[in-house]
């Protein structure tokens, strides 16, 4: 119990003391994960939309595979990306290993199955009258599709938040393809792993609390934006 309360006090101290190293680690975490989610979201939404709205052979199997991929451990994703990006790998010449780009690639692959699954469930259960109403009121296909997405914005936002939660906290992929390099690829989860390995449990817990507090702040911002009166014409 003492260790936990000490960790909490440490976390608050770290947050408000303006510790430069901490904020570099926090910035790396959020910068990498936000870029990953920004790239993954449109890809996931398009795939999920096509999976829900079209019919083709093997569709159900594909959905099952995507659902299964949610269970892939982060370290396996990391290992796969590592093999592809390593010197001997097919993309070794790109020299991306131990860079933030490699971390972003790993995180995209990690959150895609979750994003696609949640968005697919949203589209599959959506009220198709939204699209039909838009069409019969004169919207073209693109406008009607955008209206349809807009009507589902809260469920899609929930999927994005879940996807972001999955990658901001993952350690396996980041440590493997990022290398945990200080001021470059060290993010909060890899820093926690390092502190724990050094026996600095309180410091590790403090970093975990920092991560939670910042994630809470981000979620609160998103929820506040949901409460804004929807206005479009």
């Amino acid at each position: 119990m003492d260790q936990l309360s000490e960790a909490f006090i440490n976390a608050l101290y770290l947050l408000f003391s303006g510790d430069r190293e901490l904020w570099i680690i926090v910035a790396t975490s959020f910068s990498v994960s936000l870029r990953a989610i920004l790239v993954a979201t449109p890809i996931a939404i398009v795939i999920a939309f096509l999976l829900a709205m079209t019919r083709f052979p093997g569709q159900r199997s594909l959905v099952m595979i995507i659902h299964t991929l949610q269970a892939v451990p982060a370290v396996v994703v990391g290992l796969t990306v590592y093999i592809v990006l390593s010197r001997q790998g097919p993309l070794g010449d790109w020299r991306l290993l131990f860079t933030q780009t490699a971390m972003i690639v790993g995180q995209i692959l990690l959150c895609l199955p979750l994003l696609i699954s949640m968005a697919h469930a949203t589209f599959a259960g959506a009220d198709r009258r939204a699209w039909e109403t838009a069409r019969t009121l004169g919207a073209n296909r693109v406008q009607a599709t955008l209206t349809f997405f807009y009507e589902l914005r809260f469920a899609l936002l929930a999927a994005i938040i879940a996807g972001f939660g999955r990658i901001i906290a993952e350690v396996g992929s980041s440590i493997m393809v990022g290398g945990n390099i200080l001021h470059h690829t060290r993010n909060i989860p890899t820093a926690i792993a390092l502190e724990t390995a050094k026996g600095e449990y309180a410091q590790g817990l403090a970093l975990g609390i920092v991560l939670l507090l910042l994630a809470f702040g981000l979620n609160a911002l998103l929820h506040l934006s949901q409460q804004q009166r929807p206005v479009y014409a």
Binding site: T133, T136, A233
Partner: protein, 247 residues
């Protein structure tokens, strides 16, 4: 404004689950005409309406408008712009009533300001002005139906397709909705209304058609009955209109 040309659908055919729903079906609608379409459950009334407005693709069919005949595929863009379909339970977008009304106007090239201005005037002219800032999802069933009617009306469609527009409504909502439909008709909009109780639309309907076994046949003319059910359009005399209009 009454559009001068009729709309004619020809050779419409649709098969669902390998069962022909209708074959070689013809239908013409004169400008400003109101047709009541009845039929048993599963006869294909809703499917027919969805084809007429361009939402659903028939197996075959063509459409004649503005003096020329087009294959259905070529007619589809025109249908989507000129024929409006209202679901039995109309779908209103998750936004203000004002923006719901303005939606179709925006798609027709009006600016946001113009569209909202037209929408506000239309709402005020139909005694729905008090709803304009409400979120459309919070409205009652009757209010939703009237807002959806108004949303279609501001587009001045050539043809409006109403799928059971007053089903499961209380008497008051039913009257207000019928009143609005009559104003649409007076404004020159052609109407096709599906109904399980066609006699409720007797004063509006110029033709009563019955869809049975894939064929559209003229049904017995709808004449106002004495002792009509409360809430029927039969009771829509001017005095009654005024009463409901002002309440």
């Amino acid at each position: 404004m009454i559009h001068p040309e009729p709309i004619e659908y020809g050779k419409l055919a649709k098969t669902i689950n390998r069962q022909p729903l209708f074959e070689n079906l013809h239908l013409n609608i004169d400008p400003g005409e109101c047709i009541v379409l009845s039929g048993d459950n599963g006869a294909g009334k809703t499917t027919l309406l969805r084809i007429l407005c361009g939402l659903l693709t028939p197996d075959a069919g063509d459409c004649r408008y503005n003096g020329s005949c087009y294959h259905w595929k070529r007619a589809r863009p025109w249908l989507l712009q000129n024929v409006v379909y209202l679901h039995q339970e109309p779908y209103l977008f998750d936004s203000r009533v004002l923006d719901n009304i303005a939606y179709g106007l925006r798609r027709r090239g009006h600016t946001i300001t113009q569209a909202r201005d037209i929408a506000a005037r239309a709402l005020n002219a139909t005694d729905l002005g008090h709803l304009q800032q409400r979120n459309a999802r919070q409205l009652s069933g009757g209010e939703k139906q009237r807002v959806a009617l108004l949303r279609a009306w501001v587009l001045s469609p050539r043809l409006l397709l109403l799928d059971e527009p007053i089903a499961s409504m209380d008497e008051r909502s039913r009257h207000r909705t019928l009143f609005l439909i009559r104003r649409l008709q007076q404004d020159g909009v052609s109407l096709i209304i599906t109904a399980h109780e066609p006699r409720l639309f007797a004063p509006l309907a110029e033709r009563h058609l019955r869809l049975k076994q894939g064929q559209l046949n003229p049904a017995q003319p709808l004449t106002p009955e004495t002792g009509a059910a409360p809430g029927s359009a039969f009771m829509l005399d001017e005095k009654y209109d005024e009463q409901w209009h002002l309440s």
